[in-house]
């Protein structure tokens, strides 16, 4: 049985956690993790969505596992177990992607999936230990995924529009093609502008959620 006040507090706390991971402490734009897949593979919206899905599939179960079982394991064993679990999830994801979704897509992305998993592992091993409850962990992982997904999807959509004038393979009605945008510099410039906009608004968003959380207590 929970009082309405407690529910509201939890709601605000989890929303804050989500927003913190998705926006104000964005995994790509602030922590600069997972840059490589965005710069190299983020050239079409399909790639972006596929990589986001892979992230979600690896990150959320891994975080849940760490939150539930992590504290029971001896400290020396934790890294080994985490890495093994991440690799297992990764292999499964890669298998599903290749067999059931699209072998073509997998051929494009197979380089970047392990790279991403390493990024995620690094982030988890740093961040999760402070969050105890499983719901918080899932919210946290979801926020990271959404943060990563929004950045990679917007960048790859923009680049796809510039490269071939299509979006998700559907041609748009204009005649501009800039194949050079597929090279890394365009992604770096876009990331720079996105990071600048985020830095500009970050303080305000953070302050708003801090205030709401404090009010609800």
């Amino acid at each position: 049985m929970s009082k309405p006040n407690t529910t509201r507090r939890h709601l605000w706390r989890n929303t804050h956690l989500f927003v913190e991971n998705a926006v104000t402490n964005n995994i790509v734009l602030i922590q600069a993790l997972g840059l490589c897949p965005i710069i190299a593979a983020g050239v079409s919206l399909q790639n972006g969505v596929a990589l986001t899905a892979c992230t979600a599939v690896v990150l959320i179960p891994l975080s849940l596992f760490i939150a539930l079982v992590g504290n029971w394991l001896p400290k020396w064993l934790r890294p080994v177990v985490y890495v093994l679990l991440a690799s297992l999830l990764l292999v499964a994801t890669a298998y599903v992607l290749e067999t059931y979704v699209s072998a073509e897509l997998f051929a494009k992305l197979h380089m970047f999936i392990p790279l991403m998993a390493v990024n995620m592992l690094y982030m988890r091993s740093v961040g999760v230990s402070s969050i105890i409850n499983p719901i918080g962990t899932v919210v946290d992982a979801l926020g990271s995924t959404v943060g990563f997904g929004v950045v990679i999807c917007s960048i790859s959509a923009l680049r796809e529009m510039a490269i071939s004038g299509t979006i998700w393979g559907i041609p748009l009605e204009y005649d501009v093609a800039l194949p050079e945008v597929a090279s890394p510099f365009a992604a770096f410039i876009l990331l720079g502008f996105m990071a600048a906009v985020l830095q500009w608004s970050r303080q305000r968003i953070s302050a708003f959620f801090h205030r709401k959380e404090a009010e609800s207590e």
Binding site: L178, E180, S183, F185, I189, G192, F193, A196
Partner: protein, 335 residues
């Protein structure tokens, strides 16, 4: 404790007189290309400058900076420099795109005039070189052209094109341009970077007016000449070879304009010396082995990145030397 040079915030921007001095380059170089190609290059220069100024005004409005900084001419210089390295037969939108990119990406996000880390003109030229090498490096043959058509595009109007000097050198061909033609700029090439005599005279004017510092330009030119002498690109007479290599591509143009931007160049004399030498080595290397025929804009961007470090280290080095000397003198006096 003496004062240190600020490593990244450079408040010393061009003053009005200095900007006017550089903008004066539009007159001789514009006239030169007008005589050679008709009105088209003049329109290219004008549109490029216009695009840069309009973009700068837009960026100032978005960033809520004073619009007065638009009128100081630094944006116009960026546009002018980008226009000057265009091929005379380029489409009008190419230099405009370059100017807009230079202001929006390489200048405004860093804080506008006086705070940019990289030379905006070099960034604009670099992006155009990277994205449209064909449009940038297709030059009309100068002997067959009196007036280029001034429509939007000249691609399919029967203009005879010719390999530029830089492309000939890079391909290992023996250029058939006489020394006099080299000096006068009487060969196929960009609007404003072929006329060696005009560029050198203008450089002299800027040096006399103290708008540019001899500590950057002279080491740069000497290094370029030395590199050309050490690594010849033709089998011809070495003096001709050095001349051809210095006149090819943007080598002279870089020395006169791109390198001397007071915002991105070091401010200490020794730092300027090293900066010039480094730029010379990089420019000549890229000219020789680069993927495109004129890669000096990439060289400038690279040395710009090193500029603060070069400035600080050379300052510390000099400081260390003088202190050592002073201590030695004091010790001697004590003895």
């Amino acid at each position: 404790m003496s004062k240190m040079l600020a490593p990244h915030i450079r408040t010393e921007a061009r003053t009005g007189r200095m900007t006017m001095d550089v903008l004066l380059a539009a007159i001789p170089l514009g006239l030169f290309s007008f005589v050679n190609y008709g009105m088209r290059p003049v329109f290219i220069l004008l549109l490029s400058v216009l695009a840069a100024v309009v973009t700068e005004a837009f960026c100032c409005m978005v960033g809520r900076r004073r619009l007065r900084t638009v009128l100081d001419g630094s944006a116009a210089i960026t546009g002018l420099l980008i226009g000057l390295v265009m091929s005379p037969m380029v489409d009008y939108w190419v230099p405009m795109l370059g100017s807009a990119f230079a202001i929006i990406v390489a200048k405004a996000p860093f804080g506008g005039t006086g705070r940019n880390v990289f030379n905006p003109a070099a960034a604009g030229i670099a992006i155009l070189t990277y994205c449209f090498p064909l449009r940038m490096f297709t030059y009309p043959a100068i002997s067959n052209v009196s007036n280029l058509p001034i429509g939007m595009t000249v691609a399919d109007q029967g203009v005879i094109t010719e390999l530029s000097l830089a492309a000939q050198l890079q391909a290992g061909a023996t250029p058939s341009i006489t020394r006099l033609q080299l000096l006068l700029g009487d060969f196929a090439g960009p609007i404003g970077s072929t006329a060696a005599l005009i560029l050198l005279a203008f450089l002299g004017y800027l040096l006399v007016r103290r708008t540019v510092s001899a500590w950057v330009v002279l080491p740069y030119l000497c290094t370029c000449a030395l590199m050309a002498w050490l690594f010849p690109m033709t089998n011809l007479n070495p003096s001709y070879d050095i001349m051809a290599q210095l006149c090819a591509g943007y080598v002279l143009f870089t020395g006169v304009f791109l390198l001397n931007d007071p915002v991105t160049a070091p401010r200490f004399w020794l730092g300027r010396l090293f900066y010039g030498i480094l730029a010379g080595i990089l420019v000549m290397t890229l000219q020789r082995i680069g993927r495109v025929e004129a890669g000096s804009c990439f060289a400038i961007l690279l040395v710009n990145a090193f500029s603060p470090i070069v400035d600080r280290w050379s300052w510390h080095f000099c400081h260390w030397l003088t202190r050592k000397r002073r201590i030695r003198r004091e010790v001697k006096a004590h003895e």
